[in-house]
């Protein structure tokens, strides 16, 4: 299974949509840097991400979430990881695809 990482805001380019469209069930997506804005409540992409969580795992890098002050807006069901957790996810998956 692939670990997908997204580091761009979903409002800025279509990395999120493209990534979600190419995710196999059981694979994982990690939101990092400006990608964390994809994982927030009451927002334009909330439904798409909530829907995707039915068959893929979505994680967010907590330091990037906190830096942006949006920790309280995180969608239910998204798991937070720290830098060590990022390493663990990278090791647990066969490969990493970075959607730049």
């Amino acid at each position: 299974m692939i670990l997908h990482t997204i580091n761009k805001s979903p409002y800025e380019n279509i990395s999120l949509e493209s990534c979600l469209a190419h995710c196999k069930p059981g694979s994982s997506v990690l939101l990092i840097e400006d990608g964390v804005y994809a994982g927030l409540k009451n927002a334009k992409f909330s439904d798409a991400v909530t829907n995707a969580m039915k068959d893929i795992n979505i994680y967010v890098l907590e330091p990037d979430l906190n830096a942006r002050g949006v920790q309280e807006m995180l969608l239910d069901g998204i798991k937070t990881v720290d830098y060590a957790g990022f390493v663990d996810l990278s090791v647990e998956h066969d490969k990493v695809q970075a959607w730049l």
């Binding site: 909330s46 906190n66 942006r68």
Partner: protein
Amino acid sequence: MSEEMYDEDEYEGTIKKLMYVNRKAPYGTIYALESLEVVLIGAAFDQDVSLVFMDDGVYQLKKGQDTKATEMKNFSPTYRALEMYDVEKLFVSKESMNERGLSADDLIVPVEMLDANQMADLMEEQDVILTF
């Protein structure tokens, strides 16, 4: 007043309406911080300055930013200092806020919310617009 001397009246006459448009999220790129630096430097020139935050730029003003774990500088408190530099006209796009589930209470500074039509009018009034 001699020609060589600083001419207050003439200088007053050169005040321009200057708008800075912030469209990028903080931290992911350097644009937000660079824009803030330019605004602070520009504040020394006593111009009629307006700051606009739209698209992902509204995230620059989000309360509760904590950058410790990323080892980046949290520059969000600087927006609160803008008032001391007489930069007091802060405008935020209503549509951008709504799209992101944000309200005025989520922001670290008082702002005026404008819809796209009002924002377009404000842009029309300006002499210079710098977008980051």
